[in-house]
């Protein structure tokens, strides 16, 4: 009795009840497809977090005025005398002795103004007056044209570097470099456009205008305290010591002692993103577990159907045994039936999974995990053998005389 012949018996057995065969395969198919898709979604969302982590610059820390929001250093009563952040605070942070982990510092004055050329208007979501160090600290690169320089800052020149969204809104496809726009009524010459950053989910990173701090103060905002100070640490691992150094320097400068609450807060992007990367990993594990359960349910479906099949075909098994079918042949026939169910179900599931991973699911672009395909398919094949084994061995060990009497 060749194995090929047994396979033929098994296939014939499956074709006898096509609907049941298809439904059982569907169970495995859904299980395998959901493993592949859900892991791809998890993978996609952690890749998205990873790329925004890279984009934001993992080394940067942001010092904000006031103790509210993320990274609030101390609890308790609010500061009695709030000292604003100043240029002097920013320069004090550039101290290689007290702050060895800080690479550079960029004071930031937020500008709230619309930019206009002709009939086109845009209010950039990020419009800052700052120093040239901002570009590196915020991981903003110029694509066309150039950065503004320290000289531009000292001279208070009205020059601007703009993001892609601003460029296309104001100029369409034209090259904006060298053109002049009016922001808050003041003309600014565009000297550069930045590399596309993409959206970070809630903020368009390309709706951006960067101008020298002095020109912002001179012509638009007036002389006000800084909105924030952007600090770049020397390496991603240096962000934590850098945070401590900033705290120490600013505590001293602002006269904060002991348990008094600080009048500034430090926003550590890297640690926030690490947290979200960790939660995304947890999320992926959770999705994987749900998918694994559905695969298991599919497997139990195979056992169930095979048990029903064995009972239904008890008499046939008896006939086969009476005309000389060895135990092994019966066992193999039912085992192969179960394996075919799970293999084909698994193969269709892989197809469905790959297909489904091409669609964006709740804002996340799934990215296939190649290993998940092999694991899901392999597990589904094993499920056939494992979950088909019990019904098959029940069929094989039926005594012919009892099987023949079965009606």
């Amino acid at each position: 009795m060749s194995i090929l012949e047994i396979v033929r018996f098994a296939i014939r057995g499956l074709f006898i009840n096509r609907l049941r065969t298809a439904l059982t395969m569907l169970g495995i198919m859904i299980g395998v497809a959901s493993v592949i898709i859900l892991l791809a979604v998890g993978n996609g969302s952690s890749k998205a977090i990873q790329s925004s982590l890279d984009r934001l610059g993992t080394n940067s820390l942001q010092v904000n005025s006031g103790a509210r929001g993320f990274g609030g250093r101390r609890g308790g009563a609010s500061a009695t005398i709030r000292k604003p952040l100043t240029i002097l605070d920013a320069t004090a942070l550039m101290d290689p002795i007290q702050a060895p982990d800080i690479k550079q510092v960029a004071p930031i004055a937020n500008v709230n103004a619309a930019c206009v050329i002709g009939t086109n208007t845009i209010t950039p979501s990020t419009f800052v007056g700052t120093w040239p160090s901002y570009f590196e600290a915020s991981n903003t690169q110029v694509l066309k044209g150039s950065y503004f320089t320290n000289d531009d800052v000292t001279q208070g020149r009205n020059v601007a570097v703009i993001g892609n969204t601003v460029a296309t809104t104001l100029f369409g496809t034209d090259n904006p470099v060298g053109q002049t726009i009016r922001c808050g009524g003041i003309p600014f010459t565009i000297i550069g456009t930045t590399v596309v950053k993409g959206s970070t989910g809630f903020l368009d990173g390309d709706s951006l205008v960067v101008i020298p701090l002095t020109s912002a103060e001179n012509s638009i905002t007036g002389y006000q305290p800084l909105s924030s100070i952007l600090v770049e640490a020397k390496s991603p691992t240096a962000t934590t010591p850098a945070q401590t150094e900033i705290t120490n320097i600013l505590d001293a400068r602002h006269g904060i002692k002991g348990n008094a609450s600080a009048d500034f807060s430090i926003f550590n992007q890297a640690s926030l993103l690490t947290t979200s990367a960790t939660s995304s990993q947890t999320f992926t594990t959770l999705l994987g577990a749900v998918a694994a359960i559905s695969l298991l349910v599919g497997g139990i479906g195979i056992t169930n159907i095979m048990l029903v099949t064995v009972v239904e075909r008890t008499r046939e098994i008896g006939i086969r045994k009476a005309i000389g079918a060895p135990k092994g042949a019966i066992l193999s026939q039912f085992l192969i039936e179960a394996t075919i169910l799970s293999l084909f179900g698994g193969a269709f599931g892989v197809l469905l999974g790959i297909l489904g991973s091409h669609f964006t699911i709740s804002g996340t672009k799934p990215i296939l995990v190649p290993a998940s395909i092999f694991i899901a398919f392999g597990v589904s094949a094993l499920i056939g053998v494992f979950f088909g084994g019990y019904p098959a061995s029940r069929a094989a060990s039926l005594r012919p005389i009892e099987a023949l009497r079965h009606e």
Binding site: M1, S2, E5, R12, I16, R315, E316, G318, I319, R320, K321, A322, I323, G324, A325, P326, K327, A329, P400, I401, L404
Partner: protein, 249 residues
């Protein structure tokens, strides 16, 4: 029908003439234990020689079906010995028994017991497939066997497309195709009309005339009268065992 002779003669060649095909010694089949136990077979001894045509008769509950199942290696006895074609069956395990069923015994059942949704040809090929007979030879032997039973033009029909008599003839073809030492028929005419019954019994005559051992279990007198030796059973014992004078001159 020359082909009957061919098929049967091949079988006879493989049988040693001096040896009985069946030798049963003190067979006991007991159901239950203690006072509630029932003896389906109570010390039955029986010898059947090659080429015999035997009918086993008896009312229901006489133990004839139990005897049949034991002779066909479908059931095991509580005690006693059973030699089939010189080989002791009573001590074999299930794996060896399946080989014996396939090679030594051709079974014919009252309810035909063909595999549903499977063509006559495939049904006849099946026992040979389990024995490992290769495709071409298997097909040829199955075709010959179906010719023998007069169904050469119905080979691709499924059981539901055949009449009862035709189904039973497919079962006979399936039993013959493996060239067994013994053809065992359990109430083979029970589900057939009188015309089909006669055709089937004629076929048995031919098969036996060609030299093959045939054992028929029946409670019908007419059927038993076609055999050359009639064994009667009652309450698990053989009550008479005599040659049929009408058939054996």
């Amino acid at each position: 029908m020359d082909s009957v002779a061919v098929v049967a003669a091949e079988a006879v060649d493989s049988v040693v003439d001096t040896q009985p095909v069946i030798e049963v010694q003190h067979a006991i089949k007991q159901y239950g234990i203690g006072e509630a136990s029932i003896f389906a077979l109570n010390d039955v001894s029986l010898t059947i020689a090659a080429g015999e045509y035997v009918a086993i008769m008896g009312p229901s509950g006489s133990g004839k079906s139990t005897l049949m199942n034991i002779l066909g290696a479908l059931d095991i006895m509580t005690s006693g010995k059973y030699f089939l074609d010189g080989i002791e069956i009573s001590s074999m395990d299930e794996n060896h028994l399946s080989i014996v069923r396939g090679r030594k015994i051709g079974f014919i059942f009252q309810s035909f017991n063909l595999i549903p949704r499977t063509s006559a040809l495939a049904n006849v090929e099946l026992p040979m497939a389990y024995q490992g007979v290769k495709g071409a030879e298997r097909r040829e032997r199955a075709m010959v066997a179906l010719e023998v039973v007069g169904l050469g033009d119905r080979v691709h029909h499924e059981p539901t497309e055949l009449s009862g008599g035709q189904q039973q003839r497919v079962a006979v073809a399936r039993a013959l195709a493996t060239r067994p030492a013994l053809l065992l028929a359990d109430e083979p005419t029970g589900a057939l009309d009188s015309k089909s019954t006669n055709d089937l019994l004629d076929l048995f005559d031919q098969i036996n005339a060609a030299g093959r051992t045939v054992i028929v279990i029946t409670h019908e007198h007419d059927v038993a009268q076609r055999a050359k030796r009639i064994i009667r059973m009652r309450d698990g014992k053989i009550v008479s065992d005599e040659l049929n004078k009408e058939r054996v001159a």
